[in-house]
């Protein structure tokens, strides 16, 4: 019985210690964001790595999801003679939820893991220690450019994902389901509210912060050689996914809950 209490206690302490370490790392990163120097070259490099090179995977995901969504909504709504809702539901679903969430998850899978693997390898090969001995702050040089770039570039990626996702629905709606293109576009525009776009961009920024923070945190603090780097990569992706979905729920309730 006492052993059970000890296990629960140790788990609770370990959990709160992990939260504390993450909070400290986040605070340190944010404080360095506000102080010069900003390594502009590293920042530009990360904008390309996170944004430009994620475009194909994000674009294809949005295209196929938008197209499938239009087909599914049509099948569901035709039973109630509500086919005209297809364009409206597609645009709302894509812009409010699927665009930011799918883009966030796809980029997390691609970028968060890469960050954790790269930083983890740098940690176990003492490259991060080497940075420190060369009078360069590793948080400022390695972490700040990645997180800043992700926060800035994710909204742009989500904007593109939203447009491509809606286009996927438009293609299926007009080419397969027989909607008039002009009518489809008019309903799309009529249904879309400015606040939908704003919430989508806010979500994207938050997701960018989460996925970069998780990749950097787990990679930066990895230990134990190749196995440690592998664990850091897995932890980065899993924690990014969970936190993105949790943050999405919180923002959705906060914005659309009333």
């Amino acid at each position: 019985m006492l052993d059970a209490f000890a296990i629960i206690g140790q788990s609770a302490i370990a959990f709160f210690a992990a939260i504390g370490r993450l909070a400290k790392f986040t605070g340190l990163t944010l404080s360095h964001m506000l102080r010069p120097p900003l390594y502009a070259g590293k920042f530009a490099q990360q904008l390309m790595a996170i944004g430009y090179f994620s475009l194909p995977v994000v674009g294809l995901t949005a295209l196929f999801t938008g197209a499938a969504l239009a087909q599914q909504i049509y099948v569901g709504s035709v039973r109630f003679n509500a086919e005209s809702a297809v364009a409206g539901v597609v645009v709302i679903a894509i812009v409010r939820e699927l665009g930011p969430v799918l883009a966030g998850l796809m980029v997390a899978g691609r970028v968060s893991s890469a960050m954790a693997a790269e930083l983890g390898t740098m940690r176990v090969t003492e490259q991060i220690d080497a940075l420190t001995t060369l009078s360069v702050n590793p948080i400022k040089y390695l972490i700040v450019p990645r997180i800043l770039a992700a926060v800035i570039v994710l909204p742009a990626l989500v904007l593109v994902a939203n447009i491509i996702g809606v286009y996927g629905g438009f293609v299926v709606g007009t080419q397969k389901l027989g909607f008039n293109p002009g009518t489809y576009l008019k309903i799309t525009v009529d249904f879309l509210d400015q606040s939908d776009v704003y919430s989508s961009m806010v979500k994207a920024g938050v997701f960018g912060f989460i996925l970069a923070l998780m990749g950097c945190y787990h990679g930066f603090n990895s230990s134990g050689g190749a196995q440690g780097v592998g664990k850091a990569t897995t932890d980065a992706v899993v924690s990014s996914f969970i936190l993105i979905l949790l943050a999405n729920l919180i923002i959705t309730i906060a914005v659309f809950g009333t």
Binding site: Y39, M122, T125, E126, Q127, D129, A130, T132, T133, L134, S135, V136, N137, Y141
Partner: protein, 258 residues
């Protein structure tokens, strides 16, 4: 009046959880002299070095450089402290995302703000000083042999003309001839810079070649310290066993105790 030692450690303790690694280290490194710390694997040599560098914070004790405490330095004070220090890591710790010349010039460009063209010229000059030709400058570290990587790492360590240079197992993993080349380079470069050198190694050939003074660490304490010429008549059973590489003696290998 006696001269203030370049580096002085008094009663330095460091533990990781229940494992005590440094157990009251007292050590002095004289200015412009070469101190070699010898000891078996797991005796605390690397932890000692990292404490002096500020990569780890000791639990207790003091570490003074030029008479000033360097324990717990942060921010600008830590950066200033590290500006006077060069470090050659055991595995080289070269940045694999950068070409060789950028590795060598890293401290000059990112740490001291030197213009890239000037820093590249300086880097090539430093590569020449460690016996590497300018065509190596554009290669990636992954394209170099182990010996060449050590030389590049040495060139990086001396590029900022530091007052103190640390060498962590500089000859580990090298063939005897290349190890001797690295030893000669270390002696030559340290003398040319007039720097204080602290080397940790378990390679006695290296220790005899590099050292002015030798200290032996065992179970987290310095058990012998003296001029390199006295090491063969140290009168210390631990030192005699270690320098002669005997399995029998007061140093019990953990594997034999099991």
């Amino acid at each position: 009046m006696t001269e203030t030692p370049k580096i002085r450690l008094r009663g330095v303790h460091k533990a990781f959880g229940p494992k005590t690694v440094l157990n009251g280290v007292d050590l002095v490194a004289e200015k412009s002299k070469s101190l070699v710390i010898i000891g078996g694997s797991g005796t605390g040599k690397s932890v000692l070095l990292k404490c002096v560098l500020g990569l780890l914070t000791p639990d207790r004790g003091s570490i003074d450089i030029d008479g000033k405490s360097v324990v717990g330095l942060t921010g600008a004070a830590k950066t200033k402290h590290l500006e006077h220090i060069g470090m050659l890591f055991q595995g080289g710790a070269l940045f694999d995302s950068l070409p060789v010349w950028r590795n060598v010039a890293f401290g000059l460009i990112e740490g001291q703000g030197m213009a890239k063209a000037e820093a590249k010229h300086e880097a090539i000059e430093n590569l020449r000083r460690v016996g590497l030709t300018p065509d190596v400058a554009e290669l990636s570290p992954a394209e170099l042999s182990g010996g060449m990587q050590k030389r590049v790492s040495l060139a990086r360590a001396i590029a900022t003309r530091p007052d103190i240079i640390f060498f962590d197992e500089p000859t580990t993993g090298l063939d005897p001839i290349m190890a001797d080349v690295i030893n000669d380079l270390i002696v030559d470069r340290v003398k040319a810079l007039g720097a204080t050198a602290v080397t940790i190694t378990h390679d006695m050939a290296s220790a005899r070649k590099i050292a002015d003074h030798v200290a032996m660490i065992f179970k987290g304490q310095i058990i012998w310290h003296g001029p390199v010429g006295d090491i063969d008549s140290s009168g210390n059973a631990h030192v005699e066993q270690f320098i002669n590489g005997r399995a029998e003696g007061p140093i019990e290998m953990e594997i034999l105790k099991a």
